[in-house]
């Protein structure tokens, strides 16, 4: 019997061996495949198992995390959620992440290997780093001024520091509180449904993800192209343009909203926004040179990221001359995001060169060690420095003598350009009011802020919409806020 008991014991040993081999297979050899299975909730649980890193504006976090004690433990909270929503986006346990929450997700949730001193060590211990901090370039005062300035009207504001490309304000109205989407309960689902069904589209980031016909503000680009190409050499010389202007190759005639545009000088045409003069200028410059200049300003660039992606602004490269004429005054197919128009005015303010815009000053670990700085941002020459100087002169004239008087500030030089963009079938829609501008304190060596404001207000009476009346005051308050902040040191 001894032999048989031994054999029975050997059988049990074999069973044990089979268990050990199989456990090794599951736990070591094939564990990665199981870990990566989309139905495995552990990555989500780990992701929300610690407080998410913060997004900082002006030295103070605008985000936070609250311990719910649930399986997905920490939920995102927001301070002044609607104010910063176009910057932060949301971080939802159900609906994913957007904007900075999305672009800097690996830093914020602690999975970025750069957060650890020894990345390999974390691979071994499988610890997750504490969430890192994202420090933004946003100036709280400018952001708030833009937000309050837009008020209940639909629209967007983008403000930049021309010399660096730092984004100082990024506002979109109507807005929403991203904190409502943080959790995974029925409240979040309800908020999600409500926000998606809202006709005002509060979750649309109009500052970077919506393109508008830029209208007359595009005349800055047309003027730059004309001056660079030498089509206009003297700002005050007559441009030999008719009023009304018959679009080339058609019988359609283009008129102006203001008087005195026939044969006006570039200065007069710019200050009073003569459509006829700029339409003809665009045709005179030619499609190739117009398209090159637009591209130099940043149009037709699908790769722009700040670090989240920006909707590409477009200037058509294949048009007949009539379409080119309309495009040159910011109509037809020309479309721009508010951020793009802020870049246009920043290029003028910065001596003709434009810095790639960025929103993240630096990222740090939870303990404050810098992980990544903003780095050097590519510089692109949009126009000759001489052209930029003359355009600055023209833009200053708009505020001092022309349509942009509402943007003027005391103790500062302000340049601007208004725009009232027609849109819709047969221009039936309520026009968009635009203002782009820059400002320089009297004691500063260069302009400190470039801003673009667009107001789309379906409620307003059509005749009341104008860049100078609706958009310029908002831009003025944003510029005032930035100048005031930079006066402090």
């Amino acid at each position: 019997m001894t032999t048989y008991i031994r054999r029975a014991a050997a059988l049990c040993a074999l069973l044990l061996l089979a268990l050990l081999v199989n456990a090794t297979r599951v736990q070591v050899l094939q564990s990665r495949a199981y870990d990566d299975n989309p139905a495995n909730r552990r990555p989500e649980i780990a992701r929300w198992g610690q407080p998410r890193g913060d997004i900082v504006v002006g030295g103070r976090p605008v985000t936070g995390s609250t311990d719910t004690g649930e399986q997905l433990r920490y939920e995102r909270t927001y301070r002044d959620g609607p104010l910063y929503a176009p910057v932060t986006g949301f971080a939802s346990q159900v609906y994913g992440t957007t904007f900075l929450e999305h672009a800097q997700d690996s830093v914020l949730d602690g999975s970025d290997p750069l957060l650890s001193f020894l990345p390999l060590w974390n691979d071994i211990t499988r610890d997750r780093n504490a969430g890192g901090t994202v420090v933004t370039t946003i100036q709280e005062a400018a952001q708030r001024a833009a937000y309050l300035g837009l008020g209940t009207r639909r629209g967007a504001v983008a403000a930049l520091e021309p010399a660096t490309g730092r984004v100082l304000a990024l506002v979109s109205r109507p807005s929403y509180d991203p904190g409502r989407l943080s959790g995974n309960g029925p409240e979040a689902a309800e908020a999600w449904a409500r926000l998606n069904g809202d006709a005002g589209r509060p979750m649309l980031n109009r500052a970077v993800r919506q393109t508008y016909p830029p209208g007359s503000t595009f005349k800055v680009v047309t003027a730059a192209a004309a001056l660079d190409a030498g089509v206009v050499t003297d700002l005050d010389a007559p441009t030999r343009s008719p009023d009304p202007y018959t679009l080339p190759g058609t019988t359609t005639s283009l008129a102006n909203e203001v008087e005195g545009c026939a044969n006006a000088s570039l200065r007069y045409a710019f200050e009073w926004s003569c459509n006829t003069v700029f339409a003809k200028l665009g045709v005179d410059v030619g499609l190739g040179a117009m398209a090159d200049t637009a591209r130099a300003f940043g149009f037709n660039d699908p790769g722009l990221r700040i670090p989240f992606s920006v909707a590409p602004s477009s200037f058509d490269t294949e048009m007949d001359r009539a379409q080119l004429a309309l495009s040159s005054i910011g109509q037809y197919d020309t479309r721009a995001t508010p951020l793009q128009m802020a870049l246009v005015t920043a290029a003028v303010a910065n001596g003709g060169s434009v810095r790639a815009p960025y929103l993240v000053e630096r990222t740090t670990t939870a303990s404050g060690r810098t992980v990544a700085g903003s780095g050097t941002h590519p510089l692109r020459q949009a126009m000759n420095p001489t052209t930029a100087r003359r355009l600055r002169d023209l833009m200053r004239g708009v505020v001092e003598d022309g349509t942009g008087a509402n943007a003027a500030l005391r103790h500062a030089t302000v340049g601007g350009k208004t725009g009232t963009a027609q849109h819709g079938l047969g221009n039936s829609g309520t026009p968009f009011a635009w203002f782009i501008g820059w400002a320089q304190s009297d004691d500063a060596v260069e302009p400190q802020v470039a801003v673009a404001v667009v107001v789309e207000d379906a409620e307003a009476v059509r005749g009341d919409i104008s860049g100078g009346g609706d958009a310029a005051p908002i831009a003025r308050e944003v510029m005032r806020a930035v100048l005031k902040a930079s006066d402090v040191p």
Binding site: M1, D35, A39, N40
Partner: protein, 479 residues
């Protein structure tokens, strides 16, 4: 082979006996030390859960440690008094597994505040240890049990049939619910059945092995006389049949394996193994094909991710595999895994997944080795015993543990189709923990007998009746 098989009561001549001096060491000090270590390890695990979850030593740690410590101490004392020659590893392993099980259940209780299972498990463990003490104290000689073979088989069949009267729970009709308590009678039945098999086979093994017709020319496929084989096969078929009716797949598999192993050990007929395996395959394929409950288990085993592909989320087995995979080599640490995702069976059938996730392959292997050691000690007691009944009983009890561990561990790690059963000592389940303490008590008694018989001269507490006074002298010599 013939001569060896014939000498049931004499020491096996091929069995190499170690020097008597080594045999005679009682090793109660070793047992005490190991038991203390087992209790301390369990308390450490309890504290580790609290530290990982709340950053503090949990307030219940002292109570838990004291409770487990008192139980272990009482068990140790009764072994010291009543079975002084018993194998010193059996009790510490049982204490450690039971303590670890309590830690794991307590740890899972943290995820289900509305459903606390650890206190009940501690109560059942207390009852189990009480039964352990009763068995070790009252059962002076295991050969007494041989007399109760037919009583035990009747009791076993009655217990097995009992759940048919009660409504099924989660697809299986294996529970008896009385006054808020739920019992799983098949757990108790397996010990009784092992007892019956051992008794019957010990009495009839010669007839089974050497009488009967030779159906094929190969001797190994010789069938024994029907009148000898008949009753035991009937009992066995009844048990398995009832279990299949109740859809208690794990236990039917266990009974099947137990019967084949014990028959093989009793008769030495490899043919029985062949016939048994053949029958098992036919039966498994037939049941797997026809019975929808079993069929779905087999489908789950073959395609654990089918429900994910169908868009219904991960099933139990997939969640279990995720848990094991998440543990990796070293585990997430006690209290830091997410095996609660497995769902309602996490504390019972799938408790091993929590061990695998939080202790890793290292901890899981250690648990497997603890079971292996328990089984090996059981077989060792069987090898050293001189009576066929004792040998068969030890083999049967060791096989029960081994098969049960294999069936449930193989099931939750995807090695074989999943069948619901409790991991011995580890899993939530009152009937299971009580039964396992009885099994360990019987193994203690068997190992005590097996080691005692090598002592020169009569022994204290021996059924033959010896004066207790000689105990001190022997202890002095062996120290």
């Amino acid at each position: 082979m013939t001569t060896k098989a014939g000498t049931t009561l004499a020491a096996d001549p091929s069995d190499p006996s170690p020097p008597p001096a080594v045999r005679l060491l009682r090793r109660r000090g070793v047992e005490f030390t190991l038991t203390v270590v087992a209790v301390l390890l369990s308390v450490y695990g309890y504290c580790a859960v609290g530290l990982a979850r709340y950053g503090t030593v949990p307030p219940g740690a002292a109570d838990y440690g004291a409770g487990l410590g008192v139980l272990a101490l009482l068990a140790h004392l009764v072994v010291r008094l009543r079975a002084p020659y018993a194998d010193p590893l059996l009790l510490p392993i049982a204490v450690l597994l039971n303590g670890l099980g309590l830690v794991l259940i307590h740890r899972l209780d943290l995820e289900t505040p509305a459903d606390q299972a650890a206190p009940a498990q501690l109560n059942w463990s207390t009852l189990g240890v009480a039964l352990f003490i009763a068995v070790v104290a009252l059962l002076r000689d295991h050969r007494v049990l041989q007399r109760y073979a037919y009583v035990s088989v009747v009791a076993a069949l009655a217990l097995l049939a009992l759940p048919i009267l009660f409504p099924p729970v989660n697809g299986a009709r294996i529970w008896v619910r009385i006054a808020g308590f739920s019992l799983q009678p098949s757990e108790f039945a397996k010990v009784l059945l092992a007892l019956f098999f051992a008794s019957y086979l010990a009495a009839n093994r010669n007839a089974l092995a050497y009488a009967g017709r030779q159906i094929w020319r190969f001797r190994r496929l010789q069938l024994p006389a029907g009148r000898v084989l008949g009753p035991i096969v009937t009992i066995w078929l009844l048990s398995v049949g009832v279990l299949v009716l109740e859809r208690d797949l794990g236990t039917s598999l266990l009974f099947f394996g137990l019967f084949v192993i014990m028959l093989y050990v009793a008769t030495g007929r490899t043919g029985w193994i062949a016939v048994g395996l053949l029958l098992a395959c036919v039966g498994a394929v037939a049941v797997g094909w026809l019975e929808p409950h079993v069929h779905s288990r087999v489908e789950d085993w073959l395609h654990p991710f089918a429900s994910i592909e169908a868009g219904q989320g991960a099933g139990q087995l997939a969640q279990s595999l995720f848990a094991f995979a998440a543990g990796g080599l070293l585990g997430t640490g006690l209290g830091l895994g997410h095996s609660i995702l497995i769902g309602f069976a996490a504390k019972s059938d799938f408790i091993l997944a929590t061990a695998g996730e939080e202790l890793g392959l290292a901890g899981l292997s250690a648990i497997f080795l603890l079971y292996a050691l328990l089984v090996e000690r059981g077989f060792r007691a069987g090898l050293a015993l001189r009576d066929a009944f004792g040998r068969l009983l030890a083999t049967g009890l060791a096989s029960i543990i081994a098969l049960q561990v294999f069936v449930i561990a193989g099931g939750v790690t995807g090695l074989i189709p999943l069948t619901g059963m409790a991991m011995p000592f580890l899993a939530q389940g009152g009937s299971s923990v009580v039964t396992n303490w009885v099994i360990v008590a019987l193994l203690i008694r068997l190992s005590d007998s097996s080691r005692r018989q090598y002592a020169p001269g009569p022994l204290p507490g021996d059924p033959l009746g010896e004066p207790e006074g000689r105990d001190g002298a022997r202890e002095g010599r062996s120290a």
